[in-house]
């Protein structure tokens, strides 16, 4: 039993998260306040919601570099569609879901059909979306951001779903934290309790074997890309309803943050190994460091430097945990 516990991919990231939590608890006074914790959780959730499908995709042996800009693209799509056609915002929300899933499908379809590595295919869609985001936004609204949609029909109800807060013991917690938890639970349930989860491990770990025993490899991988699309849409909706307007150049670079969270959480770049809970710890580490540096009064510019150190450290730690698991 202990060996099974040790063998879990998220062990390294759990240890790392605790260490970083204690570290900032000791050196940064403001970090100890519950309101600071709420902020950390919020920052973590914005990464964590995306890290779940990105981790599943990585376990399935693929990458999605378009994940970051897909968040922006779906929020731009929803905002502009609703505003320009004066529709209830829920129409924009739902149509943009179809759009984001379509991007995911396109990524998966291209990867499976052309056999080009997903790194390249999604680098292509990343660049295309990045360009289209800005170009189309400028074309449609004459500026680099969308128009404010806060006075439109359905806005307040959509905001409640995607970007509200609630009070717990006098501390305001953002709703995305709950959504994050839900996504992690669903991701873990899929991985460990459904046959689709088995297929994810199989297509990432030994694709020939998977094919030979009848796993629908193509459908599995396309579904994983669409999962990234789904969560990108969700985060896009959060940003839209949290800020009422969307900057068209946002999201670039976030794809790597998601991948880093997944890798810190124990996912292998080569596929076949990893966990959704680990990705959540990875996101939490990201959020704690991001805020902790501010609370500690350090120059925020150091953030990426620390992130880099943690990535390397986590990778070594995970490798060690994995070796322990093999040795049993």
């Amino acid at each position: 039993m202990t060996h099974r516990l040790l063998a879990r991919p998220e062990l390294g990231s759990l240890v790392g998260a605790i260490a970083i939590f204690v570290f900032f608890l000791v050196i940064a006074d403001p970090f100890r306040q519950t309101s600071a914790m709420a902020t950390v959780l919020y920052v973590s959730s914005t990464i964590g919601i995306m890290a779940v499908p990105v981790a599943l995709l990585m376990i399935g042996g693929e990458f999605d570099l378009s994940a970051g800009v897909n968040v922006t693209a779906s929020s731009l799509f929803a905002a502009m569609l609703s505003y320009q056609l004066s529709l209830n915002v829920w129409v924009g929300v739902l149509v943009s879901l179809v759009f984001a899933l379509g991007i995911g499908f396109l990524n998966g379809f291209l990867v499976m059909t052309t056999k080009i590595p997903s790194f390249l295919v999604t680098l292509g869609t990343f660049l295309m979306l990045q360009g289209a985001n800005i170009a189309i936004t400028k074309q449609v609204s004459g500026q680099v951001a969308t128009d404010n949609i806060s006075d439109m029909d359905g806005f307040s109800s959509a905001r409640r779903v995607f970007a509200s807060s609630f009070e717990v013991g006098g501390v305001s917690i953002r709703v995305t934290v709950l959504w994050w938890l839900l996504f992690v639970v669903i991701g873990t349930w899929i991985l460990l309790r459904t046959r689709f989860g088995n297929w994810i491990f199989a297509v990432g770990g030994n694709v020939d074997s998977a094919r030979a025993v009848g796993v629908p490899v193509r459908q599995t991988k396309i579904a994983l890309f669409m999962g990234v699309g789904l969560c990108a849409w969700f985060m896009g909706m959060h940003r839209l309803f949290a800020f009422n307007t969307v900057q068209s150049g946002e999201g670039v670079g976030n794809e790597f943050i998601y991948i880093i969270a997944a890798v810190i959480g124990g996912c292998l770049l080569t596929g076949g190994y990893g966990s959704a809970i680990g990705a959540a710890f990875g996101a939490l580490i990201f959020g704690m460091t991001n805020q902790g540096i501010v609370y500690a009064g350090w120059e925020a510019d150091w953030f990426k430097f620390f992130l880099g150190i943690m990535l390397l450290f986590a990778t070594v730690l995970n490798m060690w945990v994995r070796r322990l698991a093999v040795r049993r």
Binding site: N198, A210, V213, A325
Partner: protein
């Protein structure tokens, strides 16, 4: 056993690939509850036959009958559903799934979208117990199992499908000796339940022990069917596998005397690969090593060349002992090697021929950090003439050459420097018949110029026809050394397959 009903029948099955007739009229009959052994040399068509039966390839001609009906699986899943499961030589499991998840991968039992883990785990435990390995926990990650355990899981996967025929492709290759006994116990248990097994192995003694009937393949054809596995004399089995239809054309054996001793290997060994190998190669002499894949011959060549570090013994070239594990030392001493996997190990496929030829002696063409392409091309042209390279244009990428000409480039590389001794690992693999003859001539010419050649080949006629002296290896040991004239193909095959004739006759 032989009165049981016939479950599988193949009639005149043909499968062609571009340029190769891999199966050229295969007949096979398998009865319920028997262990039917497939015997044949490398390239006889065993692998293709397995793939046809497991639904990977579809036959071009002929008829397959399975349980009384025609068998035309559209894909591997269909074959598996029909009750034919295959355990491939390479273990085909997913390392980071549990034992139970691997066993049921692709046909997981479900209820309301949930995998029925309890059921799956119980069922897996039942199967494992039936296989005599109830101690393997169904929840254990496959990664942490030893090779033998993984094979049990492969077998559990086959049984989870309710297979009526299990094809085992050299299942004993990854197992230690006592694990083989357990494998046989499992096989006997399967057959007593009416499951048929097609068993493929190079080891005659295993076939004697576990097999009921034997079918022999040669060059894609059935040359003997349904021989009794225990009583058919080895000589009969072996002669059905040999006697090639492909003509080998060997140049005349040279008559010149062998010169000074170039290479001396003394007591060379590496744990688990080969042990206590001693041999010598003289100037102008071709020494051939015969042995099956896995007999340690490629590892031996690589160790002599320094690509693997010898654990015991020495390699001496012209009186000087080489530093173990140093390719540089070997090359400086005048050794050159053409490895078996020439595409991955030896050639830069996208680069022009001349670049590939000059690769080993690069530094000679560099001046101030730049290579002198003119000189490289001139030298490469000289080699191309020597080897009759076709097409002759040395600026062409190596990729565009035929297999035989690619091999000439690998050999030619070593002719540039002052290589005294060439190590050739399967020099004619993937080379067509016409080009083979040329390659043989090239190797002979080299020997005539005083180069010593140490050659490894799975094709026994090639070793016998080309070499002056033949060494036979089996399971990491040298079992025979003789002048090529004193051996024939049957004798060598007897030696490389397990068990000597004499020992065999005592038990019969």
């Amino acid at each position: 056993m032989t009165d049981n009903e016939v479950v599988l029948r193949l009639e005149d099955v043909v499968k062609t690939f571009p340029g190769v007739r891999a199966l050229d009229g295969v007949q096979l009959e398998v009865r319920a509850g028997e262990v039917h052994c497939l015997l044949g040399q490398n390239g006889a068509g065993k692998s293709t036959l397995i793939k046809v039966l497991s639904g990977v390839h579809r036959p071009d001609e002929g008829r397959i009958e399975w349980l009384g009906g025609e068998f035309k699986p559209a894909n591997p899943q269909a074959a598996m559903k029909a009750g034919i499961a295959t355990i491939y030589q390479e273990l085909d499991l997913v390392d980071d799934l549990s034992v139970a998840e691997n066993a049921f991968l692709g046909h997981e039992p479900r209820r309301f979208g949930f995998v029925r883990r309890g059921y799956m785990s119980r069922h897996t435990r039942q199967i494992l117990t039936r296989l005599g390995h109830g101690e393997i926990p169904p929840g254990r990650m496959v990664r942490s199992l030893p090779a033998a355990g993984k094979q049990v899981v492969s077998m559990a996967r086959a049984l989870s499908h309710d297979a009526k025929l299990i094809i085992m492709d050299e299942p004993s290759a990854v197992l230690a000796h006592d694990e083989v006994d357990n494998l046989f116990r499992i096989i006997r248990d399967l057959t007593s339940n009416g499951i048929a097994v097609i068993y493929i192995s190079h080891r005659l003694e295993e076939i004697r022990e576990i097999g009921d009937r034997v079918t022999v393949l040669k060059d894609g054809r059935t040359t003997a069917a349904n021989l009794p596995a225990r009583t058919t004399p080895t000589r009969d089995l072996v002669s059905r596998m040999t006697g090639r239809t492909i003509e080998y054309v060997f140049p005349e054996q040279s008559t010149q005397d062998r010169g000074e001793e170039l290479l001396r290997v003394d007591g060379l060994g590496r744990a688990g690969e080969f042990a206590d190998i001693s041999l010598s190669v003289h100037s102008g002499e071709i020494v051939g090593i015969a042995g099956l894949v896995g007999s340690g011959r490629s590892e031996l060549l690589e160790t002599i060349f320094g690509a693997r570090r010898a654990e015991s013994g020495t390699v001496t070239v012209r009186g000087k002992t080489l530093r173990p594990g140093s390719v540089g030392a070997a090359v400086r001493a005048g050794l050159g090697m053409a490895p078996e996997e020439r595409k991955s190990q030896a050639l830069l496929l996208g680069e022009p021929i001349y670049r590939n030829v000059t690769l080993a002696t690069f530094t000679g063409y560099a001046r101030g950090g730049f290579t002198n392409a003119g000189k490289e091309i001139a030298e490469a042209n000289r080699i191309a003439d020597l080897l009759e390279l076709r097409p002759r244009d040395v600026r062409r990428p190596v990729r565009t050459l035929s297999g035989g000409n690619q091999q000439k480039v690998v050999v030619g590389r070593w002719l540039l420097g002052d290589t005294k001794l060439l190590l050739l690992d399967e020099p004619t693999r993937g080379v067509d018949v016409g080009a083979r003859a040329e390659l043989y001539q090239v190797i002979r010419d080299l020997a005539a110029r005083g180069v010593g050649v140490l050659l490894v080949s799975s094709e026994v006629p090639e070793v016998l026809g080309l070499a002056d002296r033949v060494l036979v290896m089996r399971e990491g040991r040298m079992v025979r050394e003789a002048p090529a004239g004193e051996l024939d193909e049957d004798t060598v095959l007897d030696l490389v397959m397990a068990g000597s004739l004499q020992a065999e006759e005592v038990t019969l």
